[in-house]
Assembly symmetry: C2
DNA sequence: GTTACTTTTGAAGGTCTCCATAATTAGTAA
DNA sequence: TTACTAATTATGGAGACCTTCAAAAGTAAC
């Protein structure tokens, strides 16, 4: 059933038209009233009315008229993307990354802080606090200027923003991230699984930009997924969607072991770093390494095929740390998926690299604002930080 | 990104308010203007205006005022659900079923025609024609009174309404069902996979009524799925979603064989009827039969677990022919799913029986009309059969 | 049977938002 | 300085909504 509009009085019409103007103007250069009138379908006088109101509210700003044109110079207006800001936080194993962006999604400042993989709960949270503070300062913002924040972390997260289960970092289980980060910034704080955020980033600014149905594979020391269905992030009923790796028959549990068994690396190499040596050897044509990669790809493809068969996505995106070795990994993966699936989706490599989680966090923050600030039900209010 | 409203002039406001009135009135008893005014949030005079317009258009009808109340008797209006009708067609292996329903989804007439499992393409299509004709006649309708029709069939169907691939009936592949049925009725003809329609029916009038995420299992001579995600039927990019049975590792291919191997049935029993004997024997406590059912449940649970882990539904619905034996099948299935999944959804049995596909077809027809007739973008026009 | 009470109906007046059209203004180009 | 161009400003009108109040049509009480 489609979401039903509530109807309403005349002020509602103004709301809708204001929304139309904002929608046309967002993410674009400044426009004249005539252009706005054309793009919104409103008459010129009405457009002027709406624009004036939005300007008084603080959403729009007049900019210098464009010189050198025939006729009377037209006033131009732009959306004040800097009326509010959002934060995206990526809490990874080795790195904490914080991005500040304006309402158009323009990233204003990025902070990248290394953190020991062995760091405990308190140290890691302390590093997050420091990185957030540094990013705010770098962007010239205070915590009160932030309208929404999303935190990405590995593991299962509940709706309240608490880490319910973290396999990679047992000490992480139970951390109430929303509450913790909420001490530092205003507005809502969302917490989301990192694979999902990476998937979201790919649909926003990555290779999946025009796809409505996407399976994102996080291939790295952990294997994870993010599912985009109907253009929206799919979380499931209890935020547990995408955990297909838990099924032993689908190979993701043993996939790593193929790489771990590699003996061609210098003695004393951290098991976590072995993968790089395997991919490098395969790239150089080492037949044993190629075979190992093939076995890894086969197991990765098992789970991926299950997702592809279940969801029939337009696109499969290979991301995560191993996607840097897509030159040797993508082809075997593609072949194995093609063997098993009824309809073969495109299979491509992520281009966003290790910024994808933070970018996805920014995007999720923006989507949250979009729903609460520029929604057809509520219309647009004056630009102030929305409540929690 | 939320679908953006276009804004517009005052007539648009009237559209929205008319829509609000229709929305309040649909599927309910007749209401007075005062009640409508309260439920829509409109003022009394405006409500009266809107109602009068809708009445002139033919959407609303005045009914006798309710007697015996204090004060001046209020006029009452009801939605004219009989302004248009939809059809739901289920083309099964043994049975063709056609339902005619009004705009409220009230089923007006049902026709059930047996057809030989061996019937060829022409015979089967002929039986469909006859059943549709009979159903129309029984409901007192002509083909021109039908505003939308949905046809359910096994196999993969493309967007134009052609059967792309039918494993169960090879002769069925290539049939252009939308075109064929379109000769008999007006309005749009949709064609959809039967498992998906059964799933839709469960969310409409079955056990999944209040769930947004549902995995429907069609367990019978074939094994299939229908996925409801975010309250909507999930088809995938190329209508190929839910084909998880194609992955050998997930057991659905071999699941049937456990039942086929049963030797406790009378000699000469059709292999297709064996299942009933197995379930009956298990019900009577036959230990070999119980073991066979357990093995079948285990393989069914493999594919089901993959779907549950991938999507994290609120609910798993067991439907299809074997759901009649849920008393012996459901518990083993539940146990096997619980072994494998991170979060366990409710697992329940379908209650709609063999009407589910036709009911789902009716529902899909209604949803199609909902989008085209009562949409926030288009508003409500006078009640006439929409074009193709 | 009349009167009082209750609730709906119908009408009037006002406000808001939109539109179309015409007159005015501020630039560029000759 | 004059012509041209295109945006701005002003005016009048229509549609849809609201609030308020008197009239109408019933039931309940006497």
């Amino acid at each position: 059933m489609t979401e039903q509009l509530a109807g309403g009085d005349l002020s509602r019409l103004r709301q809708l038209n204001a929304l139309a103007v904002v929608h046309v103007l967002r993410g674009r250069e400044a426009l004249t009233l005539t252009e706005l009138s054309r793009d919104t379908g409103l008459s010129r006088p009405s457009t002027e009315d709406v624009v004036q109101q939005l300007q008084e509210q603080g959403w729009l700003e007049e900019v210098q008229p464009a010189p050198g044109v025939m006729g009377r110079p037209a006033r131009r207006y732009r959306f004040r993307a800097d009326a509010g800001h959002v934060l995206g936080v990526d809490i990874g194993g080795h790195t904490i990354r914080v991005m500040a962006a304006d309402l158009d999604g323009q990233v204003k400042h990025t902070v990248r802080t290394p953190v020991a993989i062995t760091a405990g709960r308190a140290d890691r949270l302390g590093a997050v606090d420091a990185a957030v503070g540094e990013c705010l300062a770098g962007a010239g913002l205070s915590g009160a200027d932030v309208w929404a924040t999303t935190v990405g972390t590995s593991g299962l997260v509940d709706a309240s923003g608490r880490v319910v289960l973290s396999v990679a970092f047992p000490e992480w289980t139970g951390v109430h991230l929303a509450q913790h980060v909420g001490r530092l910034v205003g507005g809502t704080v969302l917490v989301e699984n990192d694979s999902r955020l990476a998937a979201l980033a790919e649909t926003w600014r990555g290779v999946a930009r025009y796809a409505q149905h996407v399976v994102y594979l996080l291939a790295g020391l952990r294997t994870g997924t993010g599912l985009i269905i109907d253009g929206r992030l799919h979380r499931g009923f209890a935020q547990a969607a995408g955990e297909i790796g838990a099924l032993p028959e689908l190979g993701w549990i043993r996939a790593q072991e193929h790489l771990r068994g590699w003996t061609g690396a210098p003695a004393g190499t951290d098991p976590d770093d072995l993968a790089g040596y395997v991919f490098a050897a395969a790239r150089d044509g080492d037949r044993r390494a190629v075979a190992v990669v093939r076995r890894y790809a086969r197991d990765l493809a098992l789970g991926a095929s299950a997702l592809v068969l279940a969801l029939d996505p337009q696109l499969v995106v290979l991301g995560g740390g191993f996607s840097r070795s897509a030159d040797v990994l993508l082809e075997p993966l593609r072949r194995e998926i093609e063997k098993r699936c009824v309809r073969i989706p495109e299979i491509v490599t992520s281009t966003l690299g290790d910024e994808s989680v933070a970018l996805g966090a920014v995007k999720l923050s923006l989507e949250h604002l979009q729903e609460h600030l520029f929604d057809a039900r509520t219309g647009v209010a004056a630009p102030v930080r929305p409540g929690r």
